[in-house]
Every structure is written in structure tokens, then in C-alpha cells.
């Protein structure tokens, strides 16, 4: 069974979702929690069975799908994808457990389980087309969640979300077909297997074009400035559960894909585009932080701060060294935990007051002390206070990029510190001072259902901030082999210098057997 655990992880929720049609409306929540719980335990088992010392792919599975065109069902996890898979199952569980939605709950839970299938599928796929299938299919459940349970502008927001990402992905598909064609020309065989693509050394000008094609698909998903305009709408209109999954997992697909595709496939192009992308990332950090400061709606503040932090992830990824990439992968997890928790917290207050405007609140700390405490911890984590989870990732990402460019890193670092202003000011507006609004006086503090989701997230946010090693180490091992691969493949002199050579160090000699 452990040999096929990835297939099980992908298709168990989908199968359960289909059986869920039979379950009655009153029991569907318990059913959803049970399924998501089993799925989460399975993913923990995956972690348990995972060997952190091996840097390459583990639990690999292969089955022919369309061998005539080189498409095979290939799965595997390494340190980079393992924890994102666990994060996906974790958030699906928490999301369903703390669900407060009452309308058509059965449809919602079935949709969430289908969404879980696509999320795990994206991170476990090792064949570009299988990856693409899950990547695209994940749009459909999300479209439904935003469009059917969202706010007044939900249809506009959901269609915008769908079309933006769909367009970008189609360009990426053309890029993938090109890669396969290159592989065909080089070897005489069609293949969409990512690990086999890794072996290809492409001429530099082709790398540039292909990098751009893949970049469009990923950048829209992340979303990077200037493709980010769909995200505030999506977050603004989505129900709490939609925002949580979107921010915690779906956006990570883009940043994960950079690490999985762009860096190892196109090392020279990655170096070529390093500075431009870093500049975009810094614009993203500063610009969205400023926009966040101007927001009146507390959910929009969280949404823009989420985009802002995605900029740090991009910066770390394009540091192209072990610190930066490991840091960015870790930050993906941290960002998932923190922004997911913040959206849950916003959902708590929205359920009580049906408004998200900060001007409506004030002095909540005295009415809802427990709520204010958890919100405070998560906000501190979000601004990157040391000993919280975000700090580790942000620090490593910036450290990595510092090796490439001092100036840009300093700008980014300052921007992050300045970025704390909007979070603190938002917190001040909502929680401190006197209770100005009569309606807020009789608000109930956070209840058990909500705590079920928030307590574990708080624990994780602090635990991994204090002691990140159990997660950072496997990530580091896998990232090292990616960086080494990039160094070996790099052709231009600049790329050879920019991407460090790790072959002298320990632990990377496993690379040969891994790839």
C-alpha cells in the first residue's frame, strides 16, 4: 500500500466525494471531516515513511496513459513537494472542520473534496501533462466555490479568476508541448516526464522563450505584479473557506511550479531573468503593501498582504541558491499557515457582524479577548516577528538573495519592515481603543468550532518558528540537488557563477542516483 500511497492520496478524496452524494445533508459535515481526517492521517503516514536523507524522488509510481504521445502517469514526492501536500490535506481538514457556511453544505463539501484531489495531484505529479490536468482542473471547484457561495460580485470575481488563470495556463501548455518536442528531437521519443526533461540541455535562446511561456502560466497563478488584479476580487468575494484554500494552497501551485519547472529546466534563462523578476517581486512587495494600507476592508488588507508576501517567496526562489530556494519553499508553507489562519480569523468576525469594514470595529480586544490574542499572534507571524514561522522563511529568502544583490535585498528587507505598518495599524483600528459601535458590545468570543481550526494553526506557527529543523532539513536536501542540477546544466559563464556548485559539499553526492 505504501508503494501506491500517492495514488491513494490523490484519488481517495475524489472517490469519497462521489460516495458523498449518497450521504444526507445533515450528516455530510461529519462525513467531510472524517474523509479529510483520514486523508490527513495518510499524508502524515507519507511523512513518516519519507526518508529525509534522500534528496531525490520517493514513492515513485508509473503507469502508461498515452504512451504513443509520451504521456505517462508519473508520481513522486521529494522534500519540496512533501510538505505542501501535507499542508493541503491539513487545510482541507481545518477548512471543513471550521466550516460555518449553512447554504447547500453538501455541494460545498463535495466540491472541497474534489478540490483536495486536484491540489494533491498537482504537487505529486511528475509528468507535465498530468500536472497540467490537475492544475487546470483545480480551477473548476474553485470557480464553483467563489461563484456559488461568494459575495454580491461573486460571478464577476469567479469568472475573472477562471479566465485569467486559464489563459496563462494555455500559453504554458504550448510551452510544455514545445519541451516535449525538443525532447523528441533530442532522443527520438516523446516524453512529458519532468525528470527526463531535467536531462535536456537547451540552447539559451530557446530557454528564454520557454521560460517566458511557463512564466506566464505560473506568474498569473502566484499572482505576480502586474497579473495580480484577479486575486483581490477573488478574495473579496469568496466565502471564508474559498479564501483560505486559495491563499494557503492554490497560490502555492505557482511558486511550487517555479521551483519544479522553471529553475531546473531553464537554468540560464533563470539567471538571465533573475534581476528583472527580483525587481517585479520588490515592486510587488512595496506596491501591494501600500495598497493594503489604503484598504478599508479588513479582508482586503489580508489579501494584499498575502500578495505582498508572495513577492518574498518569488525573491527567494530566484536567489538560485540553497538558502534562498529552501527559504522560499519554507515560506510557502509559512505563508499558507499564516494567511490561511488570517482568513479564517476574518471569517470569524464576518460571521458575527456580516461586515468586514474596519471602521465598523474598534476595541474588539475587550469584547473578544481570545479572538484578539490569536489574531495578534497570527498578525505578528505575518509581519515576520522572530520565533514565528514566517521569520524563518523570510530570513532565509532574503539571505539567499543577499548573495546575489545587496541593494535589491536591502530594498526588499526595508519594504517588509515598512509593510508591518499596515498590519499593525489595521490591528490597532480593529482591536484597540474604546468600543465605539454598539453592536460590537455583545459580540460573543470565539467558539469551539472555530478554535478547532485556529489552535493547531497557532501551535504550528510558533512551533516551526522556534524549531524549523524537521521540515527545513528534508527541504534543504532536495533543494541542494536541484541547485546542483542547475549548476551542472548551466552553460553561460554568468550562470555558472551565480548558481553555486555544491559538489564539494556533503550530501549532494546522492544526486546522481536521484536524477
Amino acid at each position: 500500500m505504501i508503494d501506491h500511497i500517492l495514488t491513494l492520496l490523490i484519488f481517495f478524496p475524489a472517490l469519497a466525494a462521489m460516495l458523498g452524494f449518497v450521504v444526507t445533508k445533515d450528516s455530510i459535515r461529519a462525513y467531510g471531516i472524517a474523509v479529510a481526517g483520514i486523508e490527513f492521517l495518510l499524508s502524515l503516514w507519507l511523512w513518516y515513511a519519507y526518508d529525509p536523507m534522500v534528496s531525490g524522488m520517493q514513492f515513485m509510481e508509473a503507469a502508461p496513459l498515452i504512451p504513443a504521445f509520451g504521456i505517462n502517469y508519473l508520481l513522486g514526492v521529494d522534500g519540496i513537494s512533501l510538505f505542501i501536500i501535507i499542508l493541503s490535506t491539513f487545510f482541507t481538514l481545518i477548512g471543513i472542520a471550521s466550516l460555518t457556511e449553512k447554504r447547500r453544505i453538501k455541494d460545498l463539501i463535495i466540491t472541497l473534496l474534489f478540490l483536495e484531489m486536484t491540489m494533491v495531484g498537482v504537487f505529486a505529479a511528475l509528468d507535465a501533462i498530468v500536472f497540467y490536468v490537475f492544475w487546470e482542473f483545480s480551477l473548476v471547484p474553485m470557480l464553483y466555490i467563489i461563484g456559488a457561495w461568494g459575495g454580491p460580485l461573486r460571478i464577476y470575481a469567479s469568472v475573472k479568476f477562471f479566465l485569467y488563470t486559464f489563459t496563462g495556463s494555455l500559453v504554458m501548455l504550448v510551452g510544455m508541448l514545445f519541451m516535449a518536442y525538443f525532447y523528441y528531437q533530442a532522443t527520438g521519443q516523446w516524453s512529458f516526464a519532468i525528470l527526463e526533461w531535467y536531462r535536456l540541455i537547451l540552447p539559451e535562446n530557446f530557454q528564454l522563450w520557454l521560460f517566458v511561456a511557463f512564466f506566464l502560466g505560473f506568474a498569473i497563478k502566484v499572482p505576480m505584479f502586474p497579473f495580480h488584479t484577479w486575486l483581490p476580487y477573488a478574495h473579496g468575494q469568496a466565502p471564508t473557506i474559498g479564501s483560505v484554500i486559495l491563499a494557503a494552497i492554490l497560490l502555492k501551485m505557482g511558486t511550487y511550479a517555479f521551483v519544479r519547472f522553471s529553475l531546473p529546466l531553464f537554468p540560464d534563462a533563470s539567471v538571465f531573468f533573475m534581476i528583472p523578476i527580483a525587481v517585479i517581486a520588490i515592486i510587488m512587495i512595496i506596491y501591494t503593501a501600500m495598497v493594503a494600507y489604503a484598504q478599508e476592508d479588513i479582508k482586503q488588507v489580508v489579501a494584499y498582504s498575502s500578495i505582498s508576501h508572495m513577492g518574498v517567496i518569488i525573491l527567494g526562489t530566484f536567489a538560485l541558491n540553497v538558502e534562498g530556494v529552501s527559504g522560499s519553499v519554507f515560506l510557502m508553507l509559512a505563508h499558507g499557515v499564516v494567511s490561511g489562519a488570517l482568513f479564517l480569523l476574518v471569517g470569524v468576525i464576518y460571521d458575527r457582524r456580516h461586515t468586514k469594514l474596519m471602521s465598523e470595529f474598534g476595541g474588539l480586544a475587550s469584547v473578544m479577548p481570545r479572538y484578539a490574542t490569536i489574531f495578534g499572534i497570527m498578525m505578528m507571524a505575518s509581519v515576520g516577528l522572530p520565533l514565528t514561522i514566517n521569520f524563518v522563511g523570510e530570513f532565509l529568502s532574503l539571505l539567499g538573495f543577499y548573495k546575489q544583490s545587496h541593494m535589491l535585498t536591502l530594498t526588499a528587507g526595508t519594504a517588509i519592515i515598512v509593510g508591518a505598518i499596515y498590519m499593525l495599524s489595521a490591528y490597532k483600528k480593529a482591536f484597540f481603543g474604546n468600543v465605539t459601535n454598539e453592536e460590537n458590545k455583545k459580540l460573543k468570543d470565539i467558539n469551539k468550532t472555530e478554535l478547532v481550526g485556529l489552535i493547531p494553526l497557532t501551535i504550528v506557527a510558533i512551533w516551526l518558528g522556534v524549531y524549523p529543523k524537521p521540515i527545513l532539513e528534508p527541504i534543504n536536501n532536495s533543494v541542494e540537488s536541484v541547485i546542483q542540477l542547475m549548476h551542472d546544466k548551466a552553460q553561460s559563464a554568468e550562470a555558472k557563477v551565480r548558481i553555486p556548485d555544491l559538489s564539494g559539499k556533503n550530501g549532494t553526492n546522492t544526486m546522481q542516483e536521484a536524477y
Partner: protein, 501 residues
């Protein structure tokens, strides 16, 4: 006095006629049954037609085996040509027709199905299309085309609504014009080469080093116009939405699949040798035609308020997408054409059948057309299974993996990439994104809006067990397409490659 010509019967290879003759015999036997005893129920005729089509399909599969063993089969002084693409396209034609004909078994009564002639005409039409693809003789193509088209005009008109007559007359007029263009085009080809067989024309033109290039181009201009009408390429597409709207949804779905594959095969035979011999003008015109057809029809589809008209424009766009295969002209792209069309027939048939089961007899007050988007509003709440099915077909048409059409799209774009048409590949991809919007619009109506009063009584009004079965088959074909792609690709590549395309 001329010597009488002695022809040995064996040299005619009458067997090459067998598939078409089965359909013709089927049509005649339906007429004979009606003569012997009138007033029989439509279910009898449907089943008879199905049985004859099954025989037809069997004969084709048999020919497929023969082709793989012995290569192309010729008959009747090389007029009949049973090569791989002829067999492949006939299989799609007959199988598509077999899925279509049970749609006559509606629970409501429709005028046209009371006439046994409807079923006879239907079988004659199939025989016409089969003749059209199983030859490279320009005259034979003409006869096949006209047999099929005349039968089709009548089938449309039999629907007995004022819009149907309009549609039939419009289609007939346009079709007559196209036939005229076709006749002119072939006449010029005959004048410069002295032959009506395409492979001989190709040889003669090549030996001649295209010295008559002006005439060749003139004839190609006529031919492009003729096939533009049949394939509804922009700007010859204007009849399509009106005709689709006027005919019954079932027939409209049929028209979006079967007549087009026949026309594609002829276009492949006719245009590809010219594209390959470097007639640049033709290449440019086809390129423009493909891009404009895809893009313009997508944009028109965006603004439609009726689902059936939207699907009409969408099928124009799909035709443009597939026409790219004729332009690219490699084995991979031609394989892609057949793969795409096989997958498309399942999905599109499903979509049109869904419209067909929701057909209402009388319009509500304020309802401007048969199937406005509002009709499907909030369908998921009143008819969840139906909405899920319709949503599935829409997602597949939009090219969302893992549903059927995605694999066709992927392979077609792949073939464009492989043969160096990078820009075309990008345009094809971006067009899929534009198309995503209008398919999504229906999904938005079905899943995200509230139901409208009055419309939900029409959901599945027209449904019967056989219609639901067809929807089920289409859905299974759409969902599990991924497992069919590999065997399909292998077989199609073998057939296409061995026919020299």
C-alpha cells in the same frame, strides 16, 4: 462503329461499394415497409436504421482490416478509393449517425418522425457522405455531396416550424451556390490537366511544374469558397447559426459533426498536395482563413443570448481549429484531425442532446428564442444531474482537462508546434481561452444563479430512456476519453500514415 468494351466483373471490385450499398438498401427497405403497411411507429424505423448502420459499420471495420493487410483498395476503374482516411472518416460518419438516430425517440411527438421518409432520407444522406469520402474523383465527390446535401435540406425542412423552412431554404440556396463554385473549380482543374482524379491531377501538375499556376489558383479560389460554405469557414459561415437555430437541436448537433468530417476529408485530399507542392498563395489564404474563422466566430459566440446559437458559433470555431490540420498537413496533424473529431463528436453530441431534451413546444411570454441562457438559470437546484451533465460537456468543449476535447486540442496544438507553426499554436491556445468565456457563461447560469420561474418545467421534458442513454454514452465518452486516446492515436496514425497523408 466503336468496339464494345469488355470489362471483367471481377476487375470492378464491387465489394468497395458494399458499405454505401448497405445504407442505400436500408433506405429502400424502409420505403418498402411503408408501402406494405403504413402508419407504423417511429421506433421501428429507428431500429431498422440502426441495424443497417451497424451492418455498414461492420463492413467498414472489415475494410479496415483489409486495408492494413493489403493497402489501399480500388474499384470501378479507380473511381472508388478505400484508403485509410476514407475508412476512418466513414467510421466516424456511421458511428456518429448511430448515436444520432436514437434521438428521434423523444417522449414528445414531433411531426417529422411520423414520416418513414425521414429515416430513408437519413440513410440516403449517409450513403452520400460515404461516397464523398471514398473517392478522389471530382465528379464522384460532387454526386456524393449533392445526394447528401439534398437529403439534408429536406430533413431540416421537415421540422415544420417557420424558422425551419427559412433555415432549409437558406441552406439550400447557399448550398446551391457552393455546388456551383465546386463545379467551376473542378471544371478548371479538368481543363488544365485533362483528368478528374485528384492523384492524376497532382501528377500532371507536378510534371508540368505548375506552368498554369494562374488557373490553378483560380480553381482553388472556387474550391475554397465551396468548402468554405460546407465547413462554415468565415466569411462563408453566415448560414450556420440560422440553420442551426431553425433545425431541431438533434439535427443541428448532427450537422456540426458528420457533414463536416466528410468535407474535411475532401479538403485534405484536395488542398494538401497543393500546400505541400509549395503553392504559397493557398497556404497564406488557408492560414488567414483558419485564424479568422477561429477568432471571429469565438467573438460572435460571446455575444449570443441563445445557447443553441452559441453552440453554432462554437462549432464554427472548432471547425476552424481543425482546419489548421489541413493547413499544417503533416501525418501528426491529420491524425490530430481525426482524433479531435472523434472526441468532438461525443462531446458535441452530448451538448446538443442536452438542448434537445430540454426542448419546449411553446415559448413562454417574453421568451425570444427556444433556448435562452435564462432557461438554464439555477438548473443545479432543480435538476442537479442534468446541470452536471451539461456542465461537463461545456467544460470539455472549453478544453478543460481531463475531459475529451482537451486531448484533441493538446494533440492539435502539439502538431502545430512540431511543424514550426508556433504563432498558429499560440493563436489556437489563446482562442481556447476566449472560448472559455462563453462556455463558462452557461455554467455560471446553471450553477451560480437562482432559478427563473416557469422554465424548470421544461427540464428534461423531452427526455426518454433512449435519449438519456445517448447522454450517458456521450458523458462516459467525455470523462474517460483519456483511456481511449492512446488506442485511438495508434489506430488513426496507422491508417493516416499508410494512406500517405
Amino acid at each position: 462503329m466503336l468496339e464494345p468494351i469488355h470489362v471483367a466483373l471481377g476487375s470492378l471490385n464491387i465489394a468497395t461499394l458494399a458499405p454505401m450499398l448497405i445504407a442505400v438498401v436500408g433506405a429502400l427497405s424502409i420505403l418498402i415497409i411503408d408501402l406494405a403497411k403504413g402508419g407504423l411507429h417511429k421506433s421501428l424505423y429507428v431500429m431498422i436504421a440502426l441495424l443497417f448502420l451497424l451492418l455498414d459499420l461492420g463492413a467498414l471495420v472489415d475494410f479496415g482490416g483489409l486495408f492494413l493487410k493489403n493497402g489501399t483498395i480500388l474499384g470501378f476503374f479507380d473511381v472508388m478509393l478505400m484508403d485509410g482516411i476514407a475508412i476512418m472518416s466513414q467510421i466516424i460518419i456511421v458511428a456518429g449517425s448511430m448515436l444520432f438516430i436514437p434521438l428521434a425517440l423523444t417522449s414528445k411527438r414531433f411531426h417529422e418522425y411520423d414520416y418513414p421518409e425521414y429515416f430513408a432520407l437519413f440513410l440516403f444522406m449517409i450513403a452520400g457522405f460515404q461516397f464523398m469520402v471514398a473517392t478522389d474523383n471530382l465528379i464522384m465527390i460532387f454526386i456524393g455531396l449533392e445526394t447528401a446535401s439534398l437529403a439534408l435540406y429536406t430533413l431540416i425542412a421537415l421540422h415544420n416550424r417557420s424558422k425551419s423552412f427559412e433555415a432549409a431554404v437558406k441552406y439550400f440556396t447557399m448550398g446551391a451556390l457552393a455546388a456551383g463554385f465546386y463545379a467551376f473549380g473542378s471544371m478548371i482543374l479538368y481543363a488544365i490537366s485533362g483528368s478528374v482524379e485528384m492523384n492524376q491531377i497532382a501528377t500532371i501538375l507536378a510534371e508540368d511544374h505548375y506552368s498554369n499556376i494562374g488557373y490553378v489558383l483560380l480553381s482553388m479560389a472556387f474550391m475554397i469558397a465551396a468548402f468554405g460554405f460546407k465547413l462554415s469557414m468565415v466569411p462563408f459561415h453566415t448560414w450556420t447559426p440560422d440553420v442551426y437555430e431553425g433545425s431541431s437541436a438533434a439535427l443541428a448537433g448532427y450537422m456540426s459533426i458528420v457533414p463536416k468530417i466528410a468535407a474535411f476529408v475532401v479538403a485534405m485530399r484536395l488542398f494538401e498536395f497543393l500546400v505541400h507542392s509549395g503553392v504559397a498563395w493557398l497556404q497564406v489564404i488557408l492560414y488567414i482563413g483558419v485564424v479568422v474563422t477561429m477568432t471571429a466566430s469565438n467573438i460572435w459566440a460571446l455575444v449570443q443570448s441563445d445557447v443553441k446559437r452559441m453552440l453554432a458559433y462554437s462549432s464554427i470555431s472548432h471547425a476552424g481549429f481543425v482546419m489548421a490540420a489541413v493547413l499544417i498537413g503533416t501525418t501528426q496533424s491529420n491524425t490530430g484531425l481525426f482524433l479531435y473529431w472523434a472526441l468532438f463528436s461525443f462531446t458535441n453530441l452530448g451538448a446538443f442532446t442536452m438542448i434537445w431534451v430540454n426542448r419546449q413546444k411553446n415559448l413562454l411570454p417574453g421568451q425570444s428564442s427556444d433556448h435562452p441562457y435564462e432557461k438554464f438559470s439555477g438548473m443545479v437546484k432543480t435538476m442537479p444531474m442534468g446541470a452536471v451533465m451539461m456542465g461537463l460537456f461545456m467544460l470539455s468543449l472549453a478544453g478543460i482537462p481531463p475531459f475529451g476535447l482537451f486531448w484533441g486540442k493538446m494533440y492539435m496544438i502539439g502538431s502545430a508546434v512540431t511543424s514550426g507553426y508556433t504563432v498558429l499554436a499560440l493563436i489556437m491556445a489563446l482562442n481556447s481561452a476566449i472560448a472559455g468565456y462563453y462556455y463558462l457563461k452557461l455554467i455560471v447560469f446553471m450553477f451560480m444563479k437562482e432559478p427563473m420561474v416557469g422554465y424548470n418545467q421544461f427540464y428534461f421534458m423531452n427526455a426518454s430512456l433512449s435519449l438519456k442513454t445517448i447522454i450517458g454514452i456521450a458523458a462516459v465518452g467525455t470523462i474517460f476519453a483519456v483511456f481511449a486516446v492512446n488506442p485511438l492515436l495508434k489506430v488513426i496514425t496507422l491508417f493516416v500514415y499508410n494512406s500517405g497523408y
